[in-house]
């Protein structure tokens, strides 16, 4: 893989849709500047890999990740339900031999047709991002990820429960 990707035409095409994604991310975002931040309870860490929400605006993280299966073979882990101002977001991940193979949103806002329209477009994109990032043999990512906060928090909690 080239260290620097210079795929100009593709980038330009995606730029237009990126604006749409940003709009969607705003809708799912947890950071209204006008409301005070709510503290998020941090569960006691159970492994050497953990995450913590510094604060999450109007949202709070509830529940805890549960996992089934063993460390080898296929393992399914459900992330925390993260409350956003538009409703709860929760993801479930599948790992095969420690590798992320599937990300499914099992809860997301569906109260109105606009929610449904946004989610039918956004959730596959967010899922693709999670899978692509891990395929590059990297430990972490710096910079914008276009991931809505709720989705990211639930995904992170699922990964943490899976034992990193």
């Amino acid at each position: 893989m080239h260290a620097l990707k210079k795929n100009r035409p593709l980038r330009r095409i995606v730029l237009a849709s990126a604006a749409t994604v940003s709009g969607m991310v705003m809708l799912l975002s947890l950071k209204p500047h006008s409301t005070p931040a709510a503290a998020v309870a941090v569960p006691a860490p159970t492994s050497s890999s953990s995450s913590s929400g510094g604060s999450s605006g109007s949202g709070g993280s509830t529940g805890s990740g549960g996992s089934t299966g063993s460390t080898t073979g296929t393992k399914t882990v459900t992330g925390d339900t993260v409350q956003t101002r538009w409703g709860p977001v929760q993801v479930r991940i599948t790992l095969k031999n420690g590798k992320l193979t599937e990300v499914t949103a099992i809860a997301y806002p569906t109260d109105n047709p606009r929610d449904q329209e946004i989610n039918s477009y956004a959730l596959p994109r967010l899922r693709g991002e999670a899978l692509e990032t891990q395929s590059a043999d990297i430990d972490t990512v710096s910079g914008a990820t276009y991931t809505s906060d709720g989705y990211r928090q639930s995904l992170q909690s699922a990964l943490d429960s899976a034992g990193g």
Partner: protein
């Protein structure tokens, strides 16, 4: 701070690492409580209104303000801890807090530490034998894609910080005008030993625009950078190539 911190810790005594992790997470919550500008009753909000003096605040406040002043001098005012004339050290707190948490983990005896605070990363040690930490740099113009991969090979400590408009819109303010920075950049990624500075330099460089930023970043010791313009050009400092993995 409205962001997610992730820890990836390798090696060390599990008990000691677990205790350090609890301390590091508690430390982040304490930092949030003291420094948040989202709450009117935080120490920094009260300091900004003149209801508290720096001496009456948690000692961390004086530490951060001193670092902020140094960042302002080094960046010739492009980095600032004031917003609309009011004290707002938010721009330095996230990177500083993530670096502080990472160092707490390393002190516990862990052999490899990676702390990612909202897309800004501090790496210490190594994740395993014969293997350096590797950090993807998110491509601001291609959601889900990577613009580059940075390797920490040969460095016992390395930080990667990215500033840009992509995820949170135009949130970087030009301290000279008080308005959103007018810049030809969509993202600046700075690679340096310490996240406190990498984060500040990325913010300052973003506000400068590509031409001034590249020259300024080249002048800083132990600092490399990758700049992506709205015109989809990628510009790098001379030494960045050695860090690409």
């Amino acid at each position: 701070m409205g962001t997610v911190f992730s820890f990836d810790v390798r090696g060390g005594d599990p008990e000691a690492v677990r205790a350090a992790l609890r301390e590091a997470v508690d430390g982040l919550h304490r930092v949030n409580e003291v420094f948040t500008t989202y709450r009117d009753d935080s120490q920094v909000s009260r300091l900004a209104r003149g209801e508290l003096t720096v001496e009456e605040c948690d000692p961390l406040v004086a530490e951060v303000l001193a670092l902020g002043a140094e960042a302002e001098r080094t960046s010739d005012g492009w980095f600032s801890t004031r917003y609309e004339g009011r004290l707002d050290p938010t721009g330095i707190v996230k990177g500083w807090a993530a670096e502080r948490a990472a160092r707490r983990m390393a002190e516990s005896g862990a052999s490899g530490v990676s702390v990612n605070g909202g897309g800004d990363v501090q790496l210490l040690g190594v994740p395993g034998p014969q293997r350096p930490w590797r950090v993807g740099v998110s491509d601001p113009l291609r959601p889900g894609g990577l613009a580059a991969v940075i390797s920490a090979a040969g460095a016992s400590e390395l930080a990667v910080a990215t500033s840009g408009t992509a995820e949170r819109g135009a949130h970087i303010v030009d301290p000279r005008t008080g308005r959103s920075a007018v810049t030809d950049l969509v993202a600046v990624t700075v690679v340096a030993p310490q996240l406190t500075w990498a984060d500040c330099w990325a913010t300052a460089a973003f506000a400068m625009g590509s031409r001034e930023a590249l020259g300024w970043l080249e002048s800083l010791p132990e600092v490399e950078a990758l700049l992506i313009t709205a015109g989809d050009e990628v510009r790098c400092t001379g030494g960045l190539a050695a860090r690409l993995g």
